[in-house]
């Protein structure tokens, strides 16, 4: 009984995680400028990672694999947001202005006013 419940729970988590990845991907394609796009992409790094890895851990049960999955999740959670930060920071340093009003980041807007 508890097995089935865990199974269902893990699949819910996995599907949710998959949905997050999908949303992140769509956001990366559709959102108007650089900062909003990495915002969408960072969804994949954090929320989706947690959901998918917890789902997989539930699938694996109390084994060595769970420990490894946990370590990988930790690693991804540490590196993903850092990479996003570094990316945004680099964009900012190279002169791309965060501006909610702009519709897109064509080259002409890259130059600071």
């Amino acid at each position: 009984m508890i097995d089935i419940a865990l199974d269902i729970l893990s699949w819910i988590l996995l599907v949710l995680g998959g949905a997050c990845v999908l949303i992140g991907g769509i956001g990366g394609l559709r959102l108007p400028n650089f900062y909003t796009r990495i915002h969408a992409a960072s969804l994949t790094d954090t929320m989706a990672t947690i959901l998918i890895f917890v789902g997989m851990m539930l699938q694996a049960g109390l084994t060595l694999a769970t420990l490894k999955l946990f370590a990988i999740m930790l690693f991804l959670l540490l590196t993903g947001p850092t990479a996003t930060y570094a990316l945004a920071n680099a964009a900012l340093l190279s002169g791309l202005k965060p501006d909610a009003g702009t519709a897109s980041d064509k080259p002409k807007e890259n130059t600071p006013e």
Partner: protein
Amino acid sequence: MIFIFGLFLLTLLVITAIAIVRTKDLFVAVMLTSIFSLLMAANFFILDAADVALTEAAVGAGVTTVIFLCALALTDDKEKPRQGGRWVAFGTVGVLALLIIYATFDKPRLGDPDAPVHQHIAPWYIEKTTEYIDIPNVVTAILSSFRGYDTLGEVFVVFAACIGVLFILGVSPPRKTRKVTEKNSGLRHHLIPQVVGRLLIPFIVLFGLYVQFHGEYGPGGGFQAGAIIATGVILYALLEGESEALRAIPRGVLLGMVIGGALLYGGVGVACMFMGGAFLDYSVLAVDPIFGQQLGILIIEAGVGMAVCGALLAIFHAFAAREVLS
């Protein structure tokens, strides 16, 4: 299921390759190459080649990308458009592709257990590894003992690349130069990457050592370990700046690692010769031939790890420490 995943990965691989060739921005091309390597590694993994996947991920996606980026920083990151000549190239490669596809129709299909590849010497390796060497990872057994001579050659390829890069970049740039200040400080002024990076580096190096010494039992070995440890140090160089990393592990030490690693490997081979066996015949190293094999593999893997790590770092530093033309 896994085959469908493979299909998906392969398709992505083709798309990435085409995108790499089409883009005019070399920076984008390099990042896509990194993705390409990662996809390739995933592909290798689902084709049961765990060792190769690990190597491709560490070397192809990691170290190669860093070296490419260093080179881009020293040159130009935009490709100039060119006209003409395209159809000649299309013609040549088109013929080539047709030729290969023509050849595929007689090839054994993927996973066919009756394919000639799986008949002749491969089963022998799987069967005899337990008997002669008694380590679980057959890939390591072949790599370091059955075909250890190839691996020796490979260490010397890496050595050649290392001295080559040092030789070619050993000339100072022709014009008056200045150093970019950003380069020496690394990311020291950026708190978040620095904190996270510092947290990760010990674990990366630890994982490298695990891969090094666990190579007989699981996927891994000297190459992978050398590449992973090198990545850890490169991360340190990116965070703390080039000069800090060089202070931690000076150039002389790196060169010493390369030379020492290569000589360690070769020295084991010569020792085998002196103890009455053929070159690289580790069985004579100890009274018990199986133990001799294991001992030999342990030592030469250490040599490989040292040489690869030292060479990759020396190459990285040769690029990264070079002054940018003003």
